[in-house]
């Protein structure tokens, strides 16, 4: 067992080293990796954060990561002379990344709870949280008592869920646990849920941005927000955070940051649809580039692996066939998302070394794609008339010659439509990588509607971009198919 694990680690380490080599240029091109803060010579810390937790962290129309947490962390870094690099990856993903030592610390509007304190070390509190209920304007709801028999949206694993579960003991309502504030808001606006429970500043910011909801209850104090590091790790970072926070609170800079986001200066996003299009396009184009890049890289690897496993499956050698069959069964029989989490969060803990999100993303998509392509290859080769190989063999061609000259050209012609199909599926599957915080197209869209609450419009724009990209891609592939397979 122990030996098996070592061998597995060795194989994976080799694979990853290879992938890293190919992907270094792509990773360098990722603009998310800029460091910010104080002394340019200072130590760099990687800080995980939520993707869409306005006003604590979100992206402004220019695509810049902003918010109370972000500005606070930068100001503290400035004060203490270190540098930070942010990874916005979703709340739960950030906590997993912290456990996996993929990041040094997490600042994500996280409440200080006893449960979390068992696993993480918290800083001094930097914000006191309050929860509140919100519903559609004019709904007539004024508290828990009005929610009997209704469904209420809460944020998965957060204090809002805890509060709602507590209230469930006295009131009879359903709980619908969702991942993001925008999803919760859309769920209430579309009538799936009657009300939502979330942190007051977040709901307040949303209302300011035109979310169409109103606060319907007295705020419930929940406790304090803290910055966290993995238990027993990065203690010097924690000490610097506490000292810097203290300095900022004394100088008044802390209050300035809060006022900037929840002081009520900005109004709802006033732009027309075209205005929205214009402001969101730059960020979406970055997303499209990442989507196309990760799909292209993954498809190339998937083709190589798929051909290899496809031929192994056709081999007369029972061991090769067994390896191929196992590989295909594993990756075809499990969801893509499981592997995304495994490669990004699980594998680093096995290997003891962080894995680039590009490598994890490409591994996820290419291994899944390879399983399907292997079956396409096997099926196509087997569907070539056996008489073709017999005719070639009876002309004294070797097995290899008959495969290369006679069987494969016919098999490739047959498999092309299926391969184009697989490419399209892979391009769409790449959107699943948003779950680990990969900056692809749908992820960028989430960033935008998390800040301006124009969910439907942004999603329509993204759907159109996907549609056009896939339409052009299939057109190109079919053209190439006609040229090559006349």
């Amino acid at each position: 067992m122990r030996q098996g694990k070592t061998f597995l680690s060795f194989v994976f380490a080799g694979l990853i080293a290879l992938l890293s080599f190919f992907m270094a240029p792509a990773a360098l091109a990722d603009n998310a990796a800029e460091t910010e803060g104080g002394d340019p010579e200072g130590e760099v810390y990687v800080i995980g954060t939520d993707t869409t937790f306005a006003p604590f962290e979100f992206r402004d129309p220019a695509g810049e990561l902003v918010g109370i947490d972000i500005d606070l962390m930068k100001a503290i870094a400035e004060d203490q002379g270190f540098r930070v690099e942010f990874r916005s990856m979703g709340f739960n993903a950030a906590l997993q990344a912290l456990s996996a030592n993929q990041v040094d610390g997490v600042i994500a509007g996280a409440g200080i709870t006893e449960e979390r304190q068992e696993v993480y070390d918290f800083s001094d509190p930097y914000f006191t949280g309050e929860l509140t209920i919100a519903a559609v304007e004019g709904s007539g709801i004024s508290g828990w008592g009005d929610l009997e028999g209704e469904s209420v949206a809460v944020k998965t694993g957060s204090l809002s869920e805890e509060w709602a579960r507590e209230m469930q003991q006295d009131h009879d309502f359903e709980i619908n646990a969702l991942d993001q504030t925008t999803t919760m808001v859309e769920s209430v606006k579309s009538g799936h849920d009657k009300a939502l429970v979330d942190d007051l500043p977040i709901i307040a910011y949303g209302i300011q941005q035109g979310s169409g909801l109103e606060l319907v209850s007295e705020p419930e104090p929940t406790g304090d927000y803290g910055f966290m590091v993995n238990k027993g790790e990065n203690q010097e970072l924690l000490a610097m955070f506490n000292e810097g926070l203290n300095n900022l609170q004394e100088s008044g800079e802390y209050q300035e940051i809060l006022d900037h986001y929840i002081g009520g200066e900005s109004g709802p996003d006033p732009s027309t649809f075209l205005g929205l299009l214009a402001t969101s396009i730059p960020a979406l184009m970055v997303g499209l580039r990442n989507t196309l890049l990760i799909t292209g890289i993954s498809f190339a690897i998937a083709m190589a692996l798929g051909l290899m496993f496809g031929f192994m499956k056709l081999s007369s050698n029972i061991i090769l066939r067994g390896i191929a069959t196992t590989f295909i069964a594993i990756f075809r029989g499990t969801p893509v998302l499981v592997w995304a989490f495994f490669f990004y969060f699980g594998l680093p803990q096995v290997l003891g070394t962080p894995i680039s999100i590009w490598v994890a993303g490409a591994l996820t998509l290419s291994l899944n794609g390879a399983a399907y392509i292997a079956e396409i290859v096997r099926g196509s080769v087997q569907s070539v008339d056996p008489g073709q190989a017999e005719a070639a063999r009876s002309l004294a061609l070797t097995q290899g010659q008959s495969m290369r000259k006679v069987v494969l050209p016919q098999a490739f012609k047959m498999m092309t439509p299926s391969l184009i199909n697989q490419l399209v599926i892979m391009l769409k599957d790449s959107s699943l990588l948003l779950a680990i915080g990969f900056g692809e197209l749908l992820y960028q869209a989430q960033q935008i509607y998390a800040a301006n609450f124009r969910t439907t419009e942004v999603l329509l724009i993204v759907a159109a971009i996907y549609f056009v990209a896939i339409w052009l891609l299939t057109g190109l592939a079919n053209y190439a198919d006609r040229r090559v397979n006349k």
């Binding site: 008489g387 005719a391 063999r393 009876s394 002309l395 004294a396 070797t398 010659q401 000259k405």
Partner: protein
Amino acid sequence: MPNPKTSTIPLVTDDETNVIRIENLRKSFGDHEVLKGVNANVKTGEVVCIIGPSGSGKSTLLRCINGLETITSGDIWLGGFSLADNNVDLNEVRKHVGMVFQHFNLFPNMTVLENITLAPTQVKKYSQDRAQQEARELLHRVGLEDKADARPDSLSGGQKQRVAIARALAMKPEIMLFDEATSALDPEMVGEVLGVIRSLAEEGMTMVLVTHEMGFAREVADRVAFIDSGVIQEHGSPEQIFGNPTSDRLKDFLSKVL
């Protein structure tokens, strides 16, 4: 005996020698025994037709002769090559044996000319020029010199089979095997293919044909072998087989097909 690994010399040099010797050949597919002890010889230049009811093992016997089917027991000798010997390079044997299939099995991804030049360029390492020149001569011989650049799917069945014969001849084989070469053809196209086979017989090519064309067998065969239930029941000259059959099985078979 020539070294089977490297030999490209002819299978036999003496016209009187049996170029094919089949010794107690048995062939099973799983539990099903198709050939149950076949013994036969074919002399150089001889034309042998194999007749018999469907499922009797005719095609299996033919496919054993060029190694498309492995031998379960017994042996087939082609000149000095023993097909039962695992050390024999089958590709070396196949250079001497051409085969024509019922369904032509032309390569649809190539032109007619490419179908014919593939084996000479790949196996014999001929230059493209030499292979193409010889291919055009062969196409002329089967009457299809104008179809060199056509794709197989644009040809009629009879034309396809003539290309398939030219393709097999391009390797300059000493033995030609025909597996029901006219069975898949429309009746009006049978003649053009039989014409080509007849001209090969006249040139002295050693041939084994599995056929349903009794009239043709009678005309071109030196000998006819009747197979039923996995063994050769009767063999002899066409006159003897068709004119004076001895076994009841052959009489029964002939009464159905003639």
